[in-house]
C-alpha cells in the first residue's frame, strides 16, 4: 500500500487528524495506568495468607475484668471446644487484617533499625492449630513456652522463642536457615524456633510491599491482651459454630462486649475499598474506550462522506473495493501508531508522576505494550464499518456533480 497519498490527505486534514492522535494518546496513557492499578488492586485482594481463612470465625471480647481473665479463659476455651464441629479454638491478640494493630521493627542484628512494620501476634496455647499455620521448618511452641511467656509492662513479650514468616526468614538470613537465630526488637531478643508459610500482616495496605508479609508470632499465657477467640471448623459449619459460640460466651461472660465475625467476611471488609477501586477503574476504562471508538467511527464516517466523489473517481479509474478498504485501514493504522507512541510516552510520564506523589509502584513495560495493542485493535475495529461503507461507493458517483 502506497502511504504517500494517505499522508498528503492527512496533511490536508491535519487538525482533525491531530485531534484523533491526541485522543488515542490520552486514552492509551490512561488505559495503561488504570489497567496496571486494577492489576495491583486484584493482587492485593487475592493476596494469599497461610491460615485456614475459610474455616475461621473470630470473636472479640471486651470489657472483662482483668482479674478474672486468666480463670475465665480456660473455661471459655473448653466451652468453645465442646461445640459440635469445632476443630480447634484458641485465644489470640489479633488476626491477620485485624483491627488491633501491634507493630515492631525487627532485625537480625542488635544494633540495626528496621524500616519495616512487622505485625506481632500473641498466641494463646493451641493458637498455631486454631489459626491453621503451616509449619515449614522447626517446631511450634511447647506447653512450657506458653506458660512462661507474658507481656511485660514495656509492651514487649517476655517469651524467648518466636515463629516467623518464610519471607522474613529469607529477608533476614538469605541463604541460611533461620532456625536458632536471634531476632532483635526494642530492647529484647528472641530465638526463632519455627518458620511458617507467609501469613498476612495486620494492615498490609498501609505497610508497603515489605511489610505485607512481615509477621511474627509469640507464645503467651492467658492474659487480658489475648482478647480475641479464634474458632476453627469446616467451612460449611462456620455460620452455625459462630452462632453457638456467641451464645455460649454470652452465657459465660454476661458483662462482656462480644463481637463475632466470620473470618472470610473480615477479609472481604478489609479489601472492600480496593475492590471498589478496581471496579471503578474498570468501568472508566470501558467507557473511555467506547467513547474513543465512537469518536473514530464518527470522524471516519465524516471523512468517508466528504470524500465520496474522490472515492468514486478512484473506483472509476480502476481501484478495487479492497483498495479503498485498505486505504482507510492504513490511514487509521498510521493515526493509531502516532497516538500509541505518544500515549506510551504519556503513560510512562503519568506513572512516574504517580510514583513520586502516591503509593504506586513502577509499571512493568508490558502494560504499555498491551495498552498500545488494545488501542491499535480498537482503532482497526472502529474504522472497519465506515471503511466498508466507503468501499461500497459505486464508481458512477464520479460522474455526478455533487
Amino acid at each position: 500500500m502506497e502511504i504517500r497519498p494517505i499522508l498528503s490527505s492527512l496533511h490536508k486534514h491535519r487538525v482533525p487528524a491531530l485531534l484523533i492522535v491526541l485522543e488515542i494518546a490520552l486514552a492509551c496513557a490512561v488505559l495503561c495506568n488504570a489497567v496496571f492499578m486494577i492489576g495491583q488492586c486484584i493482587a492485593g485482594v487475592r493476596a494469599p495468607s497461610a491460615i485456614d481463612e475459610q474455616g475461621l470465625s473470630v470473636i472479640s471480647l471486651g470489657g472483662i475484668d482483668e482479674a478474672h481473665v486468666e480463670s475465665g479463659m480456660a473455661r471459655n476455651l473448653a466451652a468453645l471446644r465442646a461445640i459440635a464441629g469445632v476443630q480447634a479454638a484458641a485465644a489470640i491478640s489479633d488476626v491477620p487484617l485485624g483491627p488491633d494493630i501491634w507493630y515492631d521493627g525487627l532485625t537480625a542484628r542488635p544494633d540495626e533499625e528496621s524500616q519495616i512494620n512487622s505485625s506481632e501476634y500473641f498466641l494463646g496455647s493451641g493458637g498455631e492449630q486454631a489459626l491453621g499455620l503451616k509449619l515449614l521448618k522447626g517446631r511450634f511452641f511447647s506447653a512450657e513456652e506458653f506458660a512462661d511467656s507474658t507481656l511485660l509492662p514495656s509492651h514487649v513479650s517476655s517469651s524467648h522463642v518466636v515463629l516467623i514468616n518464610e519471607s522474613d526468614a529469607r529477608r533476614m538470613w538469605p541463604g541460611e536457615s533461620a532456625l536458632g537465630k536471634q531476632i532483635y526488637g526494642d530492647n529484647a531478643a528472641w530465638t526463632v524456633v519455627g518458620v511458617v508459610a507467609d501469613v498476612l500482616g495486620q494492615d498490609p495496605n498501609g505497610n508497603g510491599p515489605a511489610g505485607m508479609y512481615s509477621s511474627i508470632f509469640f507464645p503467651q499465657r492467658p492474659s487480658a491482651s489475648l482478647n480475641h477467640y479464634v474458632v476453627r471448623s469446616a467451612p460449611q459449619d462456620r455460620d452455625r459454630v459462630l452462632r453457638d459460640a456467641l451464645q455460649v460466651l454470652g452465657k459465660l461472660e454476661p458483662g462482656a462486649v462480644l463481637e463475632g465475625k466470620i473470618y472470610a467476611d473480615m477479609r472481604a471488609d478489609y479489601f472492600a475499598d480496593t475492590r471498589d477501586m478496581a471496579w471503578m477503574l474498570m468501568m472508566v476504562c470501558v467507557v473511555m474506550l467506547a467513547v474513543t471508538a465512537l469518536g473514530i467511527v464518527g470522524l471516519t464516517s465524516f471523512w468517508v462522506g466528504q470524500r465520496r466523489r474522490q472515492i468514486g473517481i478512484r473506483r472509476a479509474v480502476g481501484a478495487s473495493c479492497a483498495n479503498i478498504l485498505h486505504y482507510f485501514q492504513t490511514e487509521n493504522f498510521l493515526l493509531s501508531t502516532a497516538g500509541v507512541v505518544l500515549g506510551v510516552v504519556f503513560g510512562f510520564a503519568v506513572n512516574v508522576y504517580l510514583m513520586e506523589n502516591y503509593e504506586v509502584s513502577r509499571m512493568p513495560w508490558y502494560y504499555l505494550g498491551c495498552g498500545a495493542l488494545a488501542l491499535w485493535l480498537l482503532g482497526q475495529g472502529a474504522v472497519l464499518g465506515p471503511a466498508l461503507r466507503a468501499a461500497q461507493v459505486p464508481p458512477v458517483v464520479a460522474t455526478r456533480s455533487v
Partner: protein, 434 residues
Amino acid sequence: MFGYYLDLAWRSLRRTPVMTALMVLAIGLGIGASMTMLTVLHVMSDDPLPDRSAHLFVPHLDPRPANFTQNLYAPDASANFTYPDAMALVSSRQAVRQAAMAGGTLLARRSGTGHTPFYADGRFTTPDFFAMFDLSFLSGSAWSQADEDARARVVVLSESLSREVFGTADSVGRIAHLNDADLRVVGVTRDWQPNPMFYADADAKEFSDADRFFLPLSTSLDLKFNTNGNQSSWAGSIEHNSPTLTWLQVWVQLDTASEVTAYRRYLADYAGQQKKLGRYERSADSAHLYSLMEWLAIERKVPSDIHLQVWLALAFLAVCITNIVALLLAKFLRRGGEISVRRAMGARRRDIFIQLATESAVIGFAGGVLGLILAQLGLWSVRHRPDDYAHLASMDGPMLAFTFALALGASLLAGLLPAWRACRITPALQLKTQ
C-alpha cells in the same frame, strides 16, 4: 439574534441525530464522572468549622532527637505533643484559649441492670476545649480549671450518649460508669460532629467518628485510661508523662494577627529554651504554628485514593473533550457550503462564529443535564461504599451550579477551535467548487 441561532443549532443538530447523541453522551459521561469525584473531594476538603476556623491554630514542636529516623510506613513521631510540652503550652496561657487533648474509647454501661455494656469514643481534654471549639451545652457546663487540677471525677456527655446511658438528655448530677470509674456528669452537649474531625489524631476515622463524652485529661491519667491513635516514643519509655513519648494534640485560639505573631515568637522562644536546656536537639526553627486549614492540608486528611480518582475522572473528561473537538470540527467543516452562502449574503465572520458557538453550547447544556443525572447516580453509588466519608457524598448548590458551568465551559472550549476554523472558510472558493 440569539433565538435565531438557537433555532439554527436545533435544526443542524436534528439533521445528524446519531452524531449529536454521541457528543451529548460523551460530554455527559465526562462531566458525570468528574463531578462525582470533584464533589467527593469538595465535601472532604470542606472547612469543618466555617465560623471559627480562622481563629484556630495548631502549634508544632519537634522534640525528636537529631538522629531519629522516621519509618516510612509509621505515623509521624512529631505530629503530636509530649505531655510536658503540651502542659507547658496550655499552662502558659499565651493564647486566648488553649487545650490539650487525646482520644479514648471507654466501656459504657446503661443505668439499670441486665444491659450489655458498649464502647463509646470520647476525648480527654482540658477545660478550654468547649469554648474554643464552640460546643453548645444543653444543660450544665464544662468542668472548671479547679476540677482539672484536682483530677475531679467528672464527665461531660454528648446528648446521644446521655440518652443511651440514662434514657434522658438531662443527666447533670448523675453518675456515669465508664470503664471501672464512677464519674459525675457536669454537662450535656449537643451532638457535635465536625467533618473531618480536624482536632483528632490522624489515625482516627475522621469522617464518621464523633466524640460522645469528654473528661478532664488529668483525670484520665489518674485513672490510667488508654488513649487511641499515634503514640510514638524514641527512648523506650511509654509512660504517658514521659518527655520522649508524643501522644497529645494541642489547639490554640488566636483572634488577631498580632496575637498570631506573638504566639509564633513564644513558640520559637520555647523551642530555643528547651534546646538550651539540652532537652531538644533540633533548632528552634522547627517550631511552627499552622492554621486549621493549613494543618488539614499537611495532615492529608483526604485519602490519596480520592486524589487518584479525581485525576482519573479529569483525564477521562479530557478524552471526551478531545473527542468532541474532533467531531465538531468534522461537522462544522462539512457545512462549508452553508457557511459560505451565509457569508456571501452578508454574515460577518463573528456572526458565523457566534452561531457555531451557540451550537456547541446547546450540546454542552444537554451534556450538562445528562452529566448531572450521571453524577447523582455516581454519588449514590459512592454513598453505598464502605468508606467512612461515604455518607457525606451529596451535591450542594454551588457544586450544582459548577456542574453546569463546567459542562458549558468544556463544550464551548471544545467548540472554539472548530468554530474558528469554520469561520475562516473562503466563501468564493467554496461556492465555486459546489
